[in-house]
Subunit: 376 residues, 2 copies
């Protein structure tokens, strides 16, 4: 298996050595969507209970979670403090969090990953500056404070994509341009908030590495996943990726470097572009279980959600080995909902529904893993 499992020396300040959380301990999840939902199930199997902090007690996670605290607003300090006091570890299902909420969470020390890591991953400026600082290459990028910045970048780099620095996901808050003459239009559309610009390079494929890092610095990386996006939203993830071993090793090394660099505890993903020459450029850090790791639920003995729980609770990481090849397909919007019944009857397929009541275009409603045993 190409997956990687190493045990590193615990870096200073890793917070190791406290022993695992006892069974019955409570995991506090910031967010009540599908990632929290699937984490709760993994937590329960390991004897933990999940307490969700979110705006709505009917969020998808609550069908399988233990307790809920309602966050009335991003600056609801009473809710955050009550939640923090009720749980043994705080964790996250999204990095798209209001800065006021992050500030409230930062007052509590028992977050895994750290609030600082989540804050960094939630801001493309901090994220890309960090990646470059630790020696992980990215596409050329720049902060933007004027239409002229955009025009100058496009003149130098060619086709580019402008993105809001914060609160973007699934392709939201992004615009592409090829011509410097469009700079004013793009800036007017997005420039009301902090933005960056990135060169659009002719990459060969998109991949991600999903890995867990324990407080002791141990790393367990799943095999590199190949991802295909459609309309800015992940459509399919496939393992094995169609890349050679050297490229896979570079991708895994980049993600490992990020995890150590952040002194990260928990599961994270690094999304990357693979260039035609095999070079690997980092795109985004996800400080949480990631859509491109959903295949692990049915192709590994321990899923990304179990690894996340193990890491944040101080349990030993499980082997990331997979026993099957897999293709994960997201079920998105009305088209995804319409595919459901067929998937339930499809051989070699495991279908996962997230329990969202409303079917909206572009909304992730579930996913299906088609798996095929290895070496068969």
């Amino acid at each position: 298996m190409a997956c990687l499992m190493t045990r590193a020396e615990a870096p200073a300040g890793a917070g190791g050595g406290h022993g695992p959380l006892p069974r019955g301990a409570v995991i506090g999840m910031v967010g009540g969507g599908q990632l929290g939902r699937m984490t709760s199930v993994a937590a329960a199997r390991l004897g933990y209970r999940m307490h969700v902090l979110s705006a709505d007690a009917d969020d998808p996670a609550m069908a399988v979670a233990w307790r809920h605290t309602r966050l009335a607003a991003p600056d609801d300090a009473a809710a955050v403090d009550a939640f923090a006091a009720a749980v043994d570890v705080i964790t996250f299902e999204t990095e798209n969090l209001d800065l006021r909420l992050l500030a409230l969470l930062e007052r509590h020390a028992h977050a895994r990953p750290s609030v600082a890591a989540v804050r960094l991953a939630g801001d493309r400026r901090l994220e890309k500056a960090f990646l470059n600082r630790i020696g992980v290459p990215t596409a050329p990028w720049a902060e933007v404070i004027s239409a002229e910045d955009i025009a100058r970048f496009v003149q130098a780099q060619g086709a580019a994509i402008v993105k809001t620095a914060r609160a973007g996901y699934d392709g939201k808050g992004q615009m592409r341009l090829r011509d410097a003459a469009d700079a004013g239009r793009v800036f007017d559309a997005l420039g009301g908030v902090p933005i960056i610009i990135e060169a659009m390079l002719p990459f060969a494929r998109e991949v991600s590495v999903v890995l867990a890092r324990g407080a002791d610095g141990a790393i367990a990386a799943f095999d590199v996943t190949e991802n295909v996006h459609r309309d800015g939203i992940l459509d399919t993830s496939t393992v094995p990726a169609a890349i050679d071993a050297a490229t896979a090793a570079r991708a895994t090394e980049a993600a490992t470097r990020v995890a150590h660099g952040l002194d990260y505890v928990g599961l994270m993903a690094l999304e990357m572009f693979v260039m035609p020459d095999g070079a690997v450029l980092a795109n985004e850090i996800a400080p949480r279980p990631h859509n491109s790791g959903h295949w692990t639920m049915d192709a590994c003995l321990a899923s990304q959600f179990e690894q996340h729980v193990r890491a944040i609770c101080g349990l030993p990481l499980a082997s990331p080995a997979r026993h099957a090849d897999a293709v994960m397909t997201n079920l998105i919007g009305p088209e995804g909902a319409a595919a459901w019944e067929g998937l339930l009857a499809a051989p070699g397929t495991v279908a996962h529904w997230y329990g969202k009541e409303e079917v909206r275009p572009g909304r992730k409603l579930g996913h299906a893993n088609r798996v095929q045993p290895r070496g068969g």
Copy 2:
């Protein structure tokens, strides 16, 4: 794969043809233990929500279930009626139910399996008479109404075991005897409630077949499992069982006959003895997910819990094929709890904890599946 999947003609009254329950429908579970807990997780993944009826809102299932109705007493009609009105289908995690509760449940038509099937499986007299009536052999047995019945049976059959007809599980309510002179002592100990006596035959091994049957009569049977009990409690279940194909076919045929004979909808198990000559004698029907089917959680794409949900919700049954060999070990009492940490670090092992707060001798606290890919 030796597992069996057939589509039978729908027998009259099978309740087929109503179409599947829509996503978001509510499964009502009678009982809040570990079987309800694992069923709730499977239900959520398929888009259903679980509402539990039990005496205690802190029961193990409630860490991952949606709603709870408190049953204050076995004759709490208001609770049963409120529960029945709130759910789209009623199902069970145990057949050890008070007759008053069964009578209350019987007034509601949307139970799968039927209350009649649960009642039959919960009474060894009804169960064994049914098995013999449909041509499924059992060990010789008799109802007992006096110490003389016991003495006469032991004189004719030799070593025997006396069991309470109802409310026995995990070896509780059972006494063995070899000598007719012990009949009075055994009758005095157990005879305050209805009892039966069975011949103790020198079987070669114990096996079970876990299968699901849909309302349309379709059957999906998992591979035959070999079970080892210790102190009357299931200790390990192993697939494949060390039996030949003809014996496996007889076992699967017996379970299939039971399912059709009960017009059963849902997942059930038939526990059997395999005699030295390969003959198969039925022991017990479990009208619910069964401990000997826990290996399916990590060795099949669809577990016994998913199959149960599929069957009772009218979804197509999944393939019961397994991709791995497996040994399931129960974690029982203090010894099981002490094994937990080691199991979390054991290769090829998936550990499941049930979230019970109190560790008592003989209590099932979790299980571990050790799996090994087939054909490796």
